[in-house]
Amino acid sequence: MSALPAAVAAPDSVEVLPPLAGRRRIAAVLRKDPAALAGLTVIALFLLVAIAGPWIAPYPAQGAGVVDPNTLTLPPSAAHPFGTDDLGRDLLSRVTIGARPTVLVPFAVVILAVSIGAPLGAVAGYLGGWADRIIMRLTDLFLAFPSLLLAMAIAAALGPSLTHAAIALVVSWWPWYTRLVRGVASSLRQRDFVEAARSIGVTNRTIIRRHILPNTITPILVQASVDLGIVVLAMGGLAFLGLGTQPPGADWGLMISEGRASVLSFWWISAVPGLAMLLLVMSFNLVGDALRDVFDPRQYR
């Protein structure tokens, strides 16, 4: 009865593990899979760079956008390992400063989308009936738009800025988590420990908070690790089109677009931030694949 094909919708029965065992298994998976571990290392490294950006960038002022007419379009060298752009700014510094919007903001977007989507999904799946019908119809409505198109339209309507791009992505991403959590919650409803809690008179609100939501954390983590890569690409796309971070700010998507005009002469201006983005998205995919292997083996292997 939804607008999406059955296989894309959340499965009806997701393997439900005790929350702690789930998290321990995630740690075990990541330890054993070298590709996933490499991905995790890259993500951790990029996170560090994002946090420490202004302190570790060789030319922090240029990273933030200050122009240097003496160093225009220099190819990579010892002084500028990634070269400089057509306004003379050191690309290593730009990439370092640009890590904040490019790496940190997608985390914020996914966390916000989860904190809107998951409780709604838990309520819909656990209560069923009218609440379920209303929430899921609303979800279907948002899922009827291609996510990126909806995000682009919202970002344009709000006016181009990093915050607005992030809001636009949260608005178009939460329904995916509602759908996922609803599937888990409705299968949990029949389980003995939930029945037991209900029979001794625990309120619905407490059951959802104490018994339903904690059990949805593992599937959410698996989904979020894959989504992070997609959100990085979507944020980058919005910035590339001019709907995200505005010049002279640094953002990898924006930097790719800034290098576009002279890409045939000075390839490194676009190539460097794009490579960084490719590496980041690949890392999210490697980690996501490893997690999905364990918790949802029927999906992509």
Partner: protein, 340 residues
């Protein structure tokens, strides 16, 4: 006759969603902070002229009335007049849609073929030396920022190798030297139909890079899905039986296993068509392709709200139709799919 019932109920709920989509699109367009009437008459107009334009456009009426008016116009095939092109939005869309479809269809053909080959080979040699590189290629495919991949392909295939044109749909003077007579309005098909082989070669060369860029993401997605699905099928008893009979390995992998592995991936193929739809925004901007993606981006950046409403609505409609088609196809192919 449960299939007919299923079809009717799915179509019904799709129609309800469509109605909701029209409300969202309408509300979204009203959030856009522009003075539409002023845009139409130009910025040097007097207040009275702006007010008259607002009245003519129906902007002085209440929102629900405006919505009903808007729906009525849509049902009569009128999507409004674009602020930037000053042409009916529907005419703009009709003019650009074939170009985008040409790109989308070719991109999807490449993606499906490459995805199936990559996925099937990687499943057949699971864990062997080639499996690693094959899987890496499919992970790369889903990790490329499309707008960056496009630029890099331009550097390699235009700047360095000079094998393919940089951008655009055809060489500029082609319309003077070998004009394509419109038959179906799909450039490449028309060139072939009219036997205009010089134009055909030119248009085909211009299609290659955009189509490949567009195909990267769906190809990776399909490859991963096919591999997973094949690994599952290869565990089945009938595959073991076939092996026991000594049938050639190639026949088992590509004849028996692949056939049954494609069914479950139909949903992903449908989904990747929808991804390709949004991917076309970036690809068309990078390659200056005169299609709907470029039109959408320009409309968004110019806050051309009748055009935004038109393309958003079209995007949602095609998304719903694709998903409906996938559901129906799956139910038809696989009797085990529940028709709930």
């Amino acid at each position: 006759m449960r299939k007919a019932e299923f079809l009717i109920s799915r179509t019904g709920s799709a129609l309800v969603v469509l109605l909701g989509v029209s409300v969202v699109t309408f509300v979204l367009a009203r959030v856009i902070p522009t003075n539409l009437a002023a845009e139409y008459v130009g910025y040097h107009a007097r207040p009275a002229q702006i007010a008259r334009a607002a009245h003519q456009l129906g902007l002085d009426r209440s929102l629900p009335v405006q919505y009903l008016h808007y729906m009525n116009e849509i049902l009569h095939g009128n999507l409004g007049i674009s602020v930037s092109t000053k042409r009916p939005v529907l005419a703009d869309i009709a003019q650009r849609l074939p170009n985008t479809l040409e790109l989308l269809v070719l991109g999807m053909i490449i993606a499906v073929l490459a995805g199936i080959v990559l996925g099937a080979l990687s499943a057949r040699w699971r864990g062997r030396a080639v499996d690693g590189p094959l899987r890496s290629v499919s992970i790369l495919g889903v990790s490329f920022p499309a707008f960056w991949l496009g630029l890099m392909l331009q550097i390699v295939f235009f700047r360095m190798l000079d094998w393919l044109p940089l951008a655009g749909q055809s060489t500029t003077d082609l319309s003077f030297t070998n004009p394509i007579h419109p038959v179906t309005h799909f450039q490449i098909i028309d060139a072939a139909l009219t036997g205009n082989w010089i134009a055909f070669r030119d248009v085909a060369a211009h299609l290659v890079l955009p189509a490949v860029t567009l195909a990267a993401f769906p190809a990776g997605l399909i490859a991963r899905m096919i591999r997973a699905s094949m690994l599952e099928v290869l565990e089945h008893d009938y595959i073991r039986t076939a092996r026991a009979y000594g049938l050639p390995d190639r026949l088992i992998t590509f004849g028996y296993a692949l056939k049954n592995a494609i069914g479950p991936t139909l949903a992903v193929i449908g989904l990747s068509f929808a991804y390709a739809l949004t991917g076309s925004f970036f690809v068309e901007v990078i390659y200056d392709w005169p299609g709907l993606g470029q039109y959408t981006v320009n409309a968004l950046l110019a806050l051309d709200y009748p055009a935004i409403m038109g393309v958003t609505l079209l995007g949602a409609v095609s998304y719903i139709v694709i998903n409906l088609a996938v559901d129906v196809a799956q139910a038809w192919l696989d009797p085990r799919v529940s028709l709930a």
